[in-house]
Amino acid sequence: MFIKVNKDKCTGCESCIQSCPYDAIVIKDDKAEITENCQLCRACLTVCPEGAIQEIEEESDKKEKGQGSGVWVYAEQREGVIAGVSFELLGIGKKLADKLGTGVSAVLFGATGAEAQELIRWGADRVYHCTDELVSAFNDEPYADLLSDLIQKHKPEIVLAGATPIGRSFIPRVAARLKAGLTADCTALEIDEGTKNLLQVRPAFGGNIMATILCPHTRPQMATVRPRVMKRGIYNESANGELIEVKADNIKSRTKVLEIVKEVSDISVNLQEANVIVAGGRGTGGEKGFQLLYELAEALGASLGASRAAVDEGWVPYRHQVGQTGKTVGPRIYFACGISGAVQHVVGMQSSDIIIAINKNPEAPIFNIANFGIVGDLFEVIPLLIKKIKEAKGL
């Protein structure tokens, strides 16, 4: 596939130039031309008023798909505790499997039979479980070896994993080895009705826009999903499933975990557990603005969040960051204060039940996703809010 300008149709109006995120369109002899910077993102296709920009299919595009059936979920554990994202993946995995008329299996490395049973209750039809000592702590190579072997043997058509420090680290190795397409940090997954391909939606270009990604010719189709993006399925106490023991033969590890160090985080940064989050962005103007947000958070018993812009400015430490490159959160109430609402941030908090946006700029995109919007100056609104909340709570 490549992108081409039909020179007969092109009027040289230049309207396509702006549309290209890669600066790959130039005007040469009064006609648009696609340069080698083109990444084939198709952003320009719909922009041309003359329809002169075209997508040209090549013979090599019509490759055979690999085979495969079944949806797999990699269920992650740390020190014997299954990560919540695993149950969420079983939720979406089951939906996809139903559409495809197939089942959903979980793969678990480490932990015990009790945890494997829990996966069945959360919707897994089958659990591949390896209890070998070598996989109790996370090392990339043995995890990648084991999962690759299982995939090659059983050929699932879809493999999902959490976009966590573990999943994001070893799943790419599996994809590289199997020559499988892997899409990171998906925010929505669907099955295309016609082709049965997996449609993988994720933020692109620094999270300013969404993109749909496909793996049209290869199997399995692999994707990672952020915690708290998908909803859990139904928990069934009496569910029955198949438990398959997996042996850890012929696997190696050139890395070794010497120590696991837990860092105690106080409530103010425990974002993923928080019921209420007060978050600030560039519009807070600096540490002084964040001091106000601390006070609001304190009055609400809330955790403090921040956008990447505020963290990059050095106003708040990284551990407060919410968004695609920070944490994904889903509190009952999310206060977005002085946050413009770039997709990069939004994907990290859009599953909040109630979003309240406070921003000086009425055009800020954050208002597009808010339940309640207040256009106004933070330094005026927040102190009032603190006062009223204290009153309402009888403080």
Partner: protein, 260 residues
């Protein structure tokens, strides 16, 4: 020690905005920068060289203008820059990018390979681990500290959600780094002079012995189907009036929803 740092030239995405009417990106005057995470990888490479001796080679894949990113890295103190540039690389997803970089790294030779944890334009964090897989070497992601290096081993701290793991690896190894690791240095005057004079080595697909089938769009299992702007919420309520009235209204709404 032969140290390779992989870098990427990216649009400064903090500056990229979307035009909601045409559903396209507005990138007028958006500057190209070295991916910020990669500047920490460069700094880590320079510090490692100060400790163990050796060379720091900076590698990037991209169009000819990506050369400026390499010169910037040299101005920080890197010894040389290698640019992988070839029309055949166009349209590469993470798989094809990692394949290409791994081929080049195999060609150059390295004991430690450093990458930023992810690039700010794609945010996938996939290319680093995939390079390690193609080279059949171990990797450790999200490095926040290098504790120790020597005798063919390295001990690092890997950032996790609930703290960190202390991980030992054999060499050669690939490490992806997070911002906490260090503060990237500013270019020195001497560095700037060196950057100006430096001859950037350019490698094509043929130079690195890459298979054509594995490059660019042909070698990419994933494809972008379309791009679009996020949806607007329909039940949004904008609160009106004076600041006091707006806050009043909000408190009432929240109380009504039993949120206070």
């Amino acid at each position: 020690m032969r140290i390779i740092v992989c870098i990427k030239q990216v649009p400064d995405t903090a500056e990229v905005r979307i035009n909601p009417e045409t559903n396209t990106l507005i990138r007028d005057g958006v500057p190209s920068i070295i991916n910020p995470y990669d500047t920490h990888a460069i700094e880590a490479g320079l510090q490692l060289r100060e400790k163990t001796g050796g060379t720091v080679t900076v590698v990037t894949m991209g169009p000819p203008q990506a050369e400026t990113a390499l010169r910037e890295a040299i101005s920080m103190g890197a010894d040389e820059g290698v640019l992988l540039t070839d029309r055949a690389f166009a349209g590469s997803d993470t798989w094809a990018t990692a394949y290409t970089l791994a081929k080049a790294i195999g060609h150059i030779g390295a004991d430690v390979i450093l990458c930023g944890k992810q690039a700010i334009d794609g945010d996938t964090a996939q290319v680093g681990p995939e390079i390690a897989e193609f080279l059949d070497i171990p990797h450790v992601s999200y490095i926040r500290k290098i504790d120790n290096v020597g005798d063919g081993r390295i001990v690092v701290q890997r950032l996790m959600d609930d703290g960190y793991d202390v991980v030992e690896s054999s060499l050669p190894v690939l490490l992806t780094v997070v911002r906490e690791l260090n503060v990237p240095r500013m270019p020195s005057l001497k560095g700037k002079m060196a950057a100006k004079k430096a001859v950037i080595r350019k490698l094509s697909a043929a130079d690195i012995g890459a298979e054509e089938e594995s490059l660019g769009l042909k070698g990419s299992p994933t494809q972008v189907r379309n791009i679009f702007a996020p949806e607007v919420r329909k039940d949004r309520k904008m609160l009106e009036g004076t600041a006091e009235e707006k806050v009043e209204a909000l408190i009432k709404e929240l109380a009504g929803l039993k949120c206070l």
